[in-house]
């Protein structure tokens, strides 16, 4: 009953988001000066005649009244038809579904690596006890994280290529089918995220380890490792989970750059070329898919978060009381 209610609310919210995104984009196109048809026929070297214009206009339904176009778009959306790309001349749904797996794989690997790195650093600094060591570990961890979080993907990727591909020759500088070809793109995507996650996780871990329940555990004779693993870990993971939506955003934004840098096919590269070519249906398609992914990820994060932290299951009030985290972050 409760689950069903929750699912329905989620579903409605997700549908709303998708509808709103589609509508926003639709309005956006019409607000922009200039004829979208130019983008269709204005491909490289094009010297299209009026027939071509009329043809394209009819083909893309741009000769209908706006309200009809809008209705058509929604009707098509419902059927899963995202329209036809201006530049690729193929159905957007096809183009996007072709590119989605590659980006998802990249993002998931990067996400995993980021978590691994962030947790490792957090645990390492938490377990580094003793007067000097803990201070050094703390400073090093925090410095690394701040640096990593501040590094732009495009620069990190360039420098990694310079060092590991050009100078050392250990790894291919472009994405290849072999696992080695994934290392640099994934690392480029993961490191800044790891820096950011590390900051919140370490903070949360430190708070947990300084909290009375950790003291209580120590007072029961628990070793420091036991305290960290049995109590700290879950608390460290929580903000990471609740920042999933943010992380996804960072990964998608990063994918645009990383896929361009490492010449890897994917949604990011598709989006970038769609943006430069002003291929509005394709932009809309990528945006919708990313919004859909966001909705799914948020729902999943919500489930996981409730599993880890049953406090959230009880009332909406406690949820609202959760602090908003970090710059530009937060979640609905």
């Amino acid at each position: 009953m409760k689950i069903l209610r929750w699912l329905l609310t989620r579903l409605a919210g997700g549908l709303f988001v998708l509808w709103a995104v589609a509508t926003l984009v639709f309005i956006g196109i019409r607000l922009v000066p200039g004829d979208p048809v130019e983008a269709i026929v204005g491909g490289p070297g094009s010297q299209a005649g009026p027939e071509a214009f009329a043809l394209a206009r009819a083909e893309y339904g741009l000769d209908e009244p706006l309200i009809v176009q809008y209705g058509l778009m929604l009707a098509n959306l419902v059927r899963g038809d995202l329209g036809t790309s201006y530049s690729l001349k193929v159905p957007v749904a096809e183009a996007v579904s072709e590119q989605l797996p590659g980006t998802l794989a990249l993002a998931l690997l990067a996400w995993g690596l980021a978590w691994l790195l962030a947790l490792s650093v957090a645990l390492f600094t938490a377990l580094a006890t003793g007067p000097r060591l803990s201070r050094v570990a703390d400073a090093a961890g925090s410095g690394l994280e701040i640096f990593a979080a501040a590094v732009p993907h495009f620069w990190l990727g360039s420098v990694l290529v310079l060092v590991f591909a050009t100078s050392l020759g250990w790894l291919p500088p472009v994405a290849t089918d072999s696992p080695a070809g994934l290392v640099l793109p994934v690392a480029t995507l993961a490191l800044p995220l790891a820096g950011f996650l590390g900051q919140v996780m370490r903070e949360s871990l430190a708070t947990a380890l300084a909290s009375p329940f950790a003291l209580a555990a120590r007072a029961r004779g628990e070793s420091e490792t036991g305290v960290v693993l049995r109590h700290g870990l879950r608390h460290a993971a929580l903000p990471g989970i609740s920042l999933s939506g943010w992380a996804l955003g960072s990964l998608i934004s990063g994918a645009v750059v990383v896929e361009a840098l490492f010449a890897r096919g994917g949604l990011g590269r598709t989006l970038l070329s769609a943006v430069t070519l002003r291929d509005i249906p394709l932009v809309t398609g990528v945006v919708l898919v990313s919004a859909l992914t966001y909705v799914v990820v948020m729902a999943a994060a919500d489930v996981v978060e409730r599993l880890v932290d049953p406090r959230l299951g009880t009332t909406t009030a406690t949820r609202a009381a959760q602090p908003d985290l970090a710059a530009g972050g937060g979640r609905p």
Partner: protein, 595 residues
């Protein structure tokens, strides 16, 4: 009182703790606890009592290592282990500490949701010590966890309490779970640090009973002959449980001895001051601060110095009860919604048909446990929350709620009359704009919001500060840099600035140490006398309410269960709930002449 004990559980002499090379926070403390004995360590904030408790377990720095805490002692024996190193520092291998912690000695911290991991089922927390200190099989441990839950009164009604997380438990249940977690390692000594501070009086009383039961074992009790070390700021709590008491101030024990002796015949000035400050059993109008005794924060207000202790009731309190009411409420109702287990919104009455009348120049006390609707009632009286039914009159004219024609009084209509009604809150700091200095706060209040420059109203601000016993220099300071008592004085000064005739005080002393509480209560008393103020005084603390009120309202679950003249209610409670409250309210057993 107790017979000489062969092997004390705690034998510590000359314990000194300092952090990061600073001044010691505990110095030269001697402490011994025998098996089966209950010893209390009493002191106000910052006296070093909690640090002492932790130092006994090698956790003075919270257990995070770092070596900033320096703990030395002339003798340091815990449960038979001598843990004193050659250089006088308390030191032991980590493994030995871990055997002692939870095994020989259990530490139970105050609750406030934080001492149990909110993400783990309480059963797991109780299991921890079993896992660490016994060789029981997992099934054996599970059985033991159930036994322990039963022992602390957490079984019954069929639910598996051990599987619940702390968030699903009430405050009292959490405290019980925490005690069970402490007992699971079958410790010889239980250290309880403020075990009842965050609890409502009736719940706290039951916890204290539980602790007492554990020490005076019935058959099959898990910890027969267990020693207890109780840490508290509350002398009343201590007087109820402990056989021996140590009074701490600023890291030193100023007085120690059998509880009854210390309470009955305090030798040290500080102990005397503490005892005097306890409002329980002190009649209305009795000064709580001893003349000449200095508090931990500010000197007593000038009014207090000028006025001799006046046991006689003021004229207002004697006769004014029936005279024209300053503040009157009739049939106040406030509905709130909350979600039930299925997530549906359910309406409930947070305040249900509450009426009262506050006579001019008197104090009306409202007492009740958390969730009883006291604060909502105060908010409605202040015109901050519109009642769903009923009305509030201020000096005979409608102030909030139904203004007589079915419409609520509008804020715009109320605003000009607001200067007549002031408010003092539990946490003064959060009621101040954090960006404003004391002077700015007062200037803002004095000028009706027209200026925040203290210079514009220097004379009036000086008067206000003087009235509440602060010197004029406080004007330039920021509330953050003041002590809790000083902040509350500023809050009172601000409330007085517009010249109100009625003050609504919502738990004004709940966050304060007892000596500071005494000063504030005295100050309120003086101000009432000097300015002819009427108080609506809200508190969960029966002793405080009894001390300050002429009339009393007992609330429970949004309803008024009993009301009347304070002394009458206390001496002859009509309702069972009132009697329970009274019974649960800790009182100084040894020194309660009023009883």
């Amino acid at each position: 009182m107790t017979a000489p004990t062969p092997a004390p559980l705690v034998d510590v002499r000359g314990l000194t703790v300092s952090f990061g090379g600073g001044a010691p926070v505990v110095s030269g403390l001697d402490l011994s606890v025998a098996p089966g004995e209950s010893v209390a360590l009493v002191g106000e904030s910052g006296s070093g009592k909690s640090v002492t408790a932790r130092a006994l377990l090698g956790l003075a720095d919270g257990g995070r290592g770092g070596g900033r805490a320096r703990v030395t002692a002339d003798a340091f024996r815990i449960a038979g282990h001598d843990l004193r190193g050659r250089d006088g520092r308390v030191a032991a291998p980590a493994g030995l500490w871990r055997r002692i912690r939870g095994g020989d000695v259990a530490l139970v911290l105050q609750d406030a949701l934080t001492s149990l991991d909110p993400l783990r089922p309480v059963g797991r927390e109780i299991d921890d010590a079993l896992r660490l200190h016994t060789r029981l099989s997992p099934t054996g441990r599970a059985a033991r966890v159930r036994e322990l839950l039963a022992a602390v009164g957490l079984s019954g009604d069929g639910t598996d309490t051990g599987a619940l997380r702390p968030g699903a438990l009430s405050g009292g249940m959490r405290q019980r779970a925490l005690i069970a977690a402490g007992l699971s390692g079958a410790p010889k000594l239980l250290i309880a640090d403020e075990p009842t501070t965050a609890l409502d009086a009736t719940v706290a009383a039951r916890i204290l009973d539980l602790l007492a039961d554990l020490r005076a074992p019935a058959d099959g009790s898990p910890a027969a002959g267990m020693g207890q070390l109780l840490i508290s700021h509350d002398l009343a709590v201590v007087s109820r449980v402990a056989e021996k008491v140590l009074v701490m101030r600023a890291g030193e024990v100023v007085e120690s001895g059998p509880t009854a002796e210390v309470l009955a015949d305090p030798q040290h000035e500080y102990t005397r001051m503490l005892l005097a400050a306890v409002p329980a059993g002190k009649p209305r109008g009795t000064r709580l601060c001893l003349p000449g005794a200095t508090g931990t924060t500010a000197p007593p207000p000038p009014a207090a110095r000028a006025t001799p202790p006046a046991p006689a009731p003021t004229p207002a309190t004697a006769a004014g009860a029936a005279a024209d009411p300053a503040l009157e409420a009739a049939g106040l109702v406030k509905m709130f919604t909350r979600r039930d287990e299925a997530g549906r919104a359910v309406a409930f009455r947070a305040v249900d048909d509450v009426s009262f009348s506050l006579a001019a120049g008197t104090t009306l006390g409202i007492v009740g446990e958390s969730g009883s609707g006291k604060t909502t009632t105060a908010r409605m009286a202040l015109g901050l929350t519109d009642p769903d039914a009923g009305r509030v009159d201020l000096f005979g004219a409608p102030f909030a709620g139904d203004r007589g024609d079915g419409h609520p009084v509008a804020e715009a209509a109320r605003r000009p009359r607001r200067p007549q009604l002031g408010a003092v809150y539990q946490d003064p700091l959060s009621s101040f704009d954090p960006r404003m200095s004391v002077g700015a706060l007062l200037a803002d209040a004095v000028s009706g919001g027209r200026t925040r420059r203290a210079g514009a109203h220097r004379r009036r601000i000086g008067e206000l500060l003087d009235m509440v016993g602060l010197d004029a220099g406080a004007s330039a300071r920021h509330p953050r840099s003041l002590s809790g008592g000083q902040r509350q004085r500023v809050a009172i000064a601000r409330a007085l600035a517009p010249g109100p005739r009625v003050l609504i005080c919502d738990e004004p002393v709940s966050a304060l140490d007892v000596s500071v509480q005494a000063q504030i209560l005295d100050l309120l008393d003086d101000l009432q006398r000097d300015l002819g103020l009427s108080y609506l005084f809200i508190s969960h603390d029966l002793a405080v309410v009894r001390h300050v009120s002429d009339q009393l309202l007992v609330m429970r679950g949004g309803r008024v269960v009993e009301s009347g003249e304070t002394e009458q209610v206390f001496s002859d409670p009509q309702e069972q709930y009132t009697r329970d409250l009274l019974a649960a309210s800790p009182a100084l057993r040894a020194a309660a002449p009023g009883d």
